[in-house]
Symmetry: C2
Subunit: 428 residues, 2 copies
């Protein structure tokens, strides 16, 4: 952990820098795999699964029997937790639906938007040591609410050809019909181009390693949309002497355990807070099972002392953290000034893990400063807003000359003529 | 014009294909220019302006004097038209603002979204024969409504160092403060990286040629967000024997005049419509100033006869047109079934040019089938939705075990611990 006291504004640039993920260097390698999938479909996918998962699959798709079996394998307590989380995520994302208004912009000219779910979406859930069933809920629940007609999911299987039962249970709970047993670049390629057994989708969601990120970037240049650019996870905590050092330290560590490249920073205006939090982090760290990995991530974490609350607000907005936890006593007031962040957690009893799992907000959020331009995944991510308009005869009589004048000045005479032929008919 | 009668569903794939824009082939060339701009800033930009616009600029930015002069150079009729269009665009885009709701997802757990304008946005307006002042309005008006703090614009100047007065008038009308005299890849690079005189932005909007499109793709991989992928413009018109062939032909031609690569298709279930529209297109074409260019685009336009309305709906949704004009008498009913389109124009008196200029809807729309996954530019394009949450002691007591169970099953013990330390304190 680095302690930085009263950095000048010139030094802020260094503080807000993120570890640079050079996915461009992987583009050639990843493109080759993608082209291979595009050209050879299922047969190549089976070879890749054999190579990476060590199992030869006759059927890439999870069967109904496997879904049923998965349910029997899960602890009832976990089942209940998944169901509770699902309910909360559904409540919050349902509240984001728009009620389209018809607007008469000028007499006889009516315009409106209609929100329509993206027809086919593909969710990617990485494999690895931990089964990310929470990410299944975060992506599939809003997709269902948005009205996406076909939601498919790809997730790698183990060496026995099984996908983790908690992932399958979460998928079924969220209403996903089809799950395919493959991971990595191959999964992104299969969903982007379609194969004999895996349908092509229009938008791909979900986290992944640098190869998956590179694959998403490449397919997004031409073939499908993607949720957002991805980078290592990060948290910023704001604290003062009223904050519990124990709580702050626990939030710091829960970010750090994500991986060696994840980042935690603490901002405070009180020097005593730094020492207390540092001590508490060291104490809690000793008791964590993932101690070594977490320690590595802590190496590039920073405890920063600033002069005043204005500096706290400005540095926060410059940094644009993925997660922002405000535990200082003035948290309500500070929150009014936050303009760049993914998701904000307010007060002492709102740990980031609440939003990671079960409070209802989404945990797929913009990292690496992308919060300056991107929202986290929300209901909008799964819909398009199509505009509609209807103009009456009188409406065109009113607005026709305006359109004609503008078209003529942009030297688009056929555009003008589309109005002129109609006005001529109206005035016959 | 190609006439296609009763194509089988197998032939649809061919019909919905778009001319492929291979921007990847330009990536190396464009990357070199971008790197040059990133490293050398203003001085390199001045050389590029000299090279492409043939003028050596001492100041890249449009001066207050130039804005004032521009206003005196514009026909009062055009001024009025721009002001009317601006009002309508403002009305429609203002209506898209969300009213954030606070949702109690479970007792003591409150979640909400807050819409915040992207702080710095950059608008690109291409040069060329026609001054695209309408695009200035379409991008700058919603940016202002969204509350973007800094809105800058780049547009190439002429050989005398002047930006077209209608562009400057539209910019000032829409509330843009700073306009820079440069175009092409250089403009995209300057806004993505920032230079001595041009500020870096977080999101870049606006149309452009294939080089500009490639540049936007490249900078979007790492440095800034962009509005959406771009391709040639296109329209689909649905007509029946109740439709005026004259109106349909005028809409067809107004699309065709955009450029040799733009596409128009007509869908109908009545054979007589095809002949009548074809004849009328040929008649109107003779009278258009941009006849040759328009004729070239018409070469890859298609008049398609289908068996029934179901086929019309399905092919439309498969094609996912940027613009969809429904002039058949059942236009209201058909419109209910449209799920893939950028902007839809309903009834006989609603030409596309209304939405291109002045009805209030946006004209920056997804082409090339991107309407399957993307919305056109709207108020959302200029904001982020940040999520907030606050949990009370009681809230965490209720939800804490759910979070702990899920975290433990994802093997994220520090995540679990962030809840456990709080529950321990509550239960002390």
């Amino acid at each position: 952990m680095e302690i930085i006291k009263y950095p000048s504004r010139n030094e802020w640039r260094k503080i807000i820098e993120r570890p640079h993920l050079d996915t461009l260097a992987l583009h050639e390698k990843v493109s080759n795999i993608l082209n291979d999938i595009r050209e050879n479909g299922d047969s190549r996918i089976r070879s890749y699964v054999e190579q990476f998962q060590g199992v030869r699959l006759s059927d890439l798709e999870v069967s109904e029997k496997e879904f049923t079996k998965a349910e029997t394998l899960i602890d009832p307590k976990l089942k209940d937790a998944i169901l509770t989380a699902k309910e909360n995520i559904a409540k919050f994302h349902s509240s984001q639906a728009i009620t389209p208004q018809k607007i008469e912009t000028s007499p006889g000219v009516t315009c409106w938007q209609k929100a329509v779910g993206i027809e086919r979406v593909g969710l990617y859930i990485p494999g690895g040591t931990a089964p990310l069933f929470s990410t299944v809920l975060m992506l599939a629940v809003p997709a269902r609410i948005a009205g996406c007609r076909e939601i498919i999911m790809c997730s790698p299987c183990d060496t026995n050809g099984n996908v983790h039962p908690a992932i399958l249970f979460a998928a079924r709970t969220a209403g996903i019909d089809r799950v395919f047993k493959l991971g990595g670049v191959q999964a992104i390629g299969a969903m982007a181009y379609g194969t004999e057994s895996i349908p092509k989708v229009y938008k791909i969601f979900g986290p992944g390693n640098q190869y998956v990120t590179a694959a998403k970037q490449i397919v997004s240049l031409k073939d499908v949309a993607i949720d957002m650019p991805a980078g290592p996870s990060e948290v910023e905590v704001i604290a003062d002497s009223s904050s519990s050092p124990e709580f702050v330290a626990s939030d710091f560590l829960s970010q750090a355990e994500h991986g060696a490249d994840s980042q935690s920073i603490l901002l405070t205006t009180e020097e005593s807070v730094i020492e207390k939090v540092k001590k508490e982090i060291e104490y809690q760290l000793e008791r964590l099972p993932r101690k070594e990995l977490t320690q590595k991530s802590l190496e590039h974490s920073r405890l920063i002392l600033l002069k005043n609350w204005n500096d706290v607000i400005d540095l926060t907005n410059d940094y644009a953290p993925e997660h922002l936890i405000i535990q200082s006593s003035n948290y309500r007031e500070l929150s009014e000034h936050i303009i760049n962040a993914g998701s904000v957690f307010l007060g002492p009893y709102t740990p980031e893990s609440a939003g990671d799992y079960a409070s209802g907000t989404n945990h797929t959020l913009p990292t690496s400063g992308y919060a300056r331009a991107y929202s986290g995944v929300n209901l909008d991510s799964f819909i398009r807003k199509i505009t509609f308009q209807e103009i009456t005869r009188e409406g065109l009589q009113n607005l026709g000359n305006t359109i004609e004048t503008m078209a003529a000045n942009e030297m688009l005479d056929a555009h003008k003529n589309a109005v002129s032929v109609r006005l001529a008919k109206i005035n016959q």
